[in-house]
Symmetry: C2
Subunit: 129 residues, 2 copies
DNA sequence: CGCCTAATTGACAATGATTCTCATTTCCGT
DNA sequence: ACGGAAATGAGAATCATTGTCAATTAGGCG
């Protein structure tokens, strides 16, 4: 598998900047309109493509809202971790749990599952809401 | 809030039966075509409505595939639990982890989150695949 | 039993997120 | 500057899911 050759474009930089400016998980559509509002207009397809590429490189985290929409966030930690997400304001707290990782590995092995990956998110109402 | 008055219809019975016959997580569309194949044809909208209702009553579990599609499963356990899902054949194993539940409760409380709920699924390749 | 009526159904349209197309523009190594 | 590959974007296409609404049906009541 050959390495992806990636160019430096103002559009991708703008998407990254917009992501960095957001504390919450945001959708591609939201990012697109925020970019449009602040003048740095970027095509919707490009926003989708950039987010997909960033997610593939683990530069951003992705999760699905209850209605299946994909939302993205640039996390402070680049290690594997999970989130505490406020379902009112969208604020996210990064958390990790070694005990959970162990448990997942153990139960996967016990049932003969290979190439495992897991998703774990906690949704609730944060103390500011 | 008034209690929902629910009638007994062949359509809903058929959806439930089709769910019981499936060992894997299936989408509304899949159930719809399976029902059609086996003769017990049920309208697509009705399949969606029935699945939504069943999920609301916790009669079925729902999760989202990587591409955001909702898939449903009638689980043996009616207790809170999680799944080991084969991303090749779709087979699911029900698992639970008290340690995980404790961790989720602890980390939620530590950050002042209320009314918390969590999602946790493990995806991998099962030993038969 | 038949009746009545509200719940349910289903064909079809509408919605909305995501992906595809493809002509045009933009990097970037030479 | 040049050339070609990569990236972009406007719009069309896809596709799961939801809404509409007229026709059907479950089930309580007389
Ligand atoms: Mn983990
Ligand atoms: Mn749990
Ligand atoms: Zn909040
Ligand atoms: Zn399998």
């Amino acid at each position: 598998m050959t390495e992806a050759v990636r160019r430096q474009t103002r559009q991708q930089a703008a998407v990254l900047a917009a992501l960095d400016a957001a504390a919450e998980f945001v959708s591609a559509q939201q990012l697109h309109s925020r970019l449009r509002d602040q003048g740095a207009s970027v095509g919707l397809a490009t926003v989708y493509r950039t987010l997909t590429a960033l997610a593939a490189q683990d530069e951003v985290d992705v999760l699905r809202t209850d209605d299946g929409e994909a939302v993205y966030r640039r996390c402070a930690s680049d290690e594997h971790h999970h989130h505490l997400v406020c379902r009112v304001c969208g604020r996210a707290v990064e958390v990790d749990g070694p005990a959970v990782e162990d448990w997942a590995a153990r139960v996967s092995a016990a049932h003969g599952f290979r190439d495992v990956r897991h998703t774990l998110e906690i949704f609730g109402t944060c103390d500011r809401c």
